[in-house]
Amino acid sequence: MRRILANRAVRRVASTIGTLFGVAVFVFVMLRAIPGDQITAGLGTEAAALTPAQRVALEQYYGLDQSPVTQFFSWLGNMLTGNFGYSARSQQGVLEMTLHSLPVTFELAVFSIVLALLLGVPLGMLSASRTNSPRDAFGQVVSLAGLSVPAFLLATTLLSIFAASFGFNPNGQGFATLAEDPLLNLQQMFLPALVLGFGIAAPILRTTRTAVLEVRSEDFVRTARAKGVPPRRLQVRHVLGNALVPIVTMTGLQFGYLLGGAVVVEQIFSVPGVGRQVLLGIQQKEYAVVQSTVLVIALAFVLVNLLTDMLYRIIDPRVRAS
């Protein structure tokens, strides 16, 4: 037993299962702590007019007459057999809903991260190239703006300007997936990815700047310079290459958060991702929708973390050696 637990992979799987179980219990309890249920969420104040018999009929219909323990284990058991529950509002299974919304969120997350990296890494390097210079100040201002301009403000402003001034609003046309209409899809993803990417570029920029400054002061950089390595090669191959670990950590973390759905941006740009799915689930008190989707998000988060760890091994030989 001790030998099995000593195996890193087994430990990792066990801790993942533990984490997911913890998430499942937490979400289940939190959802029930929110006042109201599916009946009041659906009927609103009209629920006050229900007779006791009507209420009992509705509780049976929504499965609210079962004890919380029964509800939890029947949901968890069903999850394990691939039955994620059913959404009465959407008239479809939660698994089916998630299979449609998760790829949308994944695509948005990838685009946002790519934009954030394209903006954050070069600007971070630029800032670090000469500290306390105008170019550093420029980088700092951009990162401050990225951190402090709220996504809803940037999103609404961009949308209004593009729609009112240029008549450009692909997001008003009804969502198209990449497979259905790649061009329209990319247009629809552009503004939301830009808004999210701008926000994420800030921490990436700051991390890049700090990491680059730290690496640059190390002996091997001085040695490489002394050996006559050209400046550009020195910056990219030696400095950036060795500064990648914190940047990858930060990127992985941000990517994980993005997979949880960017609710505000998805709302404003009508992007049917997991964020909106969870929000609607909470609003309608569709417990199965929220519980199952959050669990899938948690799993995705864990997988991204795992992938990030694996990336360390690729980019840093020291990690491989240890």
Binding site: T40, G44, T45, T51, Q91, T156, N169, L244, S270, Q277
Partner: protein
Amino acid sequence: MPRGALSAIGAAAVLSIALTSCSSSSGPVTSTGATGKSGGALVVGVTSDPDTLFPWKATQFTAVNVLQNIYGTLTEFDKDLNVVPGLAESWQTSEDGKKLTLTLRKGVTFGDGSAFDSKDVKASLEKIMDEKTAAVARASLASVKSVEAPDESTVVLELTGPDAALPANLATVNMAMLSSDDTEEKLNATPNGTGPFTLGKRVPSQSLTLARNDKYWGAEKPKVGSVEFRVIPDESSIVSAMQSGNVQLAVFNDPLVAQTAQGGGTITVTKTPQLSYHALQLNAQHGDLKDVNVRLAIQCAIDRKQVLDTAALGEGEVTGPITAPAFKSDPAQRPCPSRDLAKAAEYLGKAGKSGGVTVKAIVSQGEYATSVNEAQNLKAQLAEAKITLDLEVLESGAFVDRWVAADFDAAVALNGGRPDPDGSYARYFTSKGNLNKVAGYSSPELDKLFAEGKATTDPAARKAIYEKVSAELEANAPWIWLFTSYTYTGTTSNVSGFVPMVSGSLQYLRTTSVA
């Protein structure tokens, strides 16, 4: 950068595209009919998709409006809220008022092609009356003892007593006539009604498209081939979608959004007064509010126009209890038609509370745009009359929960009005009303007046009775009626023929055309 890192990023990008491509469509598509017929396609912007497709349980704005265009009712409202024939061509009340005979329209079919007849009416009404169905309009049929269908096109309702409000009650989509062969489960997936449109295609959370029902019984067939309700969760984003020509019609509630829409110049905004009303509901069963003098003091300490101006940009009208155009209350008839702090102090004195009172009020955050602003203005005004309004701002779900349980001293609320005052208020302010627990007030006088109103068919006599109801409510101040607001219908220049209604209904989508 090491080559491995680059390949890892490349792999992630490929995985992304592969994963995204797996999603061959943006959602499952429920398709029961052809869309894109002649007559053009109208796109209506809505902030949410219907939470149910079963008409007897629909209370949400989008659900009601979508279903109203799919299903038919025995009676209907015209644009002025007069009750006009629907699936029932005519109806007659017996002399003693205890029997209502409805003659049904012939040749009407459901969307699936089956014929509509009295069997369907009997089955529908009986199921709505059955508690197990949990239909929201069950209480509106409280006076119905039995439903008989002597022949295919006649339905007879035996009543416990005269019910003048019944024809109006039959006009809501919660009283939709369903085929006797259909079940709730089946209709939730495939609606089947006698209305001007049928369900064309649904992509949950994204859009719902109606197709014109060419077999619709009405003299005037729908002008557009299809109507798509496109979900754009944010009202400002709907404005952007209209500016860029992707959406042609939308109804806004937020006056600020309506202003923005109008400002651009490409959208025509029509404002329509609403039946729904903003009120400070007092719970006359709680603490100091049991004393009518305390309630009257609150009534006298509030300048309603100020609430309207500060919370809703002055967009609305000060109102009394009854908002239906045919029975409208005159706000000038209330005990304190304008703010009167001296009188408020006098009432507090009569209640023995000259030192002031404290009232706890629940307020919903997010249910409608102006709630918190209204509450804050009320608090400021009442403070000047030594009445402390403690505000408890709640998320809308939590608000509904407390409201339903009548667990509040006062509630800042936006209540839906109905075209008939009996439908609006008998359920709140009669001792046996199903919302009396929430209203917290009834009196033998009100019971008597509501019973009289129900038993009287002459419109002028009914109006006089409901004027007395209104006066009785204002004199006892169980609630403080504040104002009615507008809805704003935005249309692009190529849309014509839409008639906004004070009930907020989109039933005139059938007369709307797109150039």
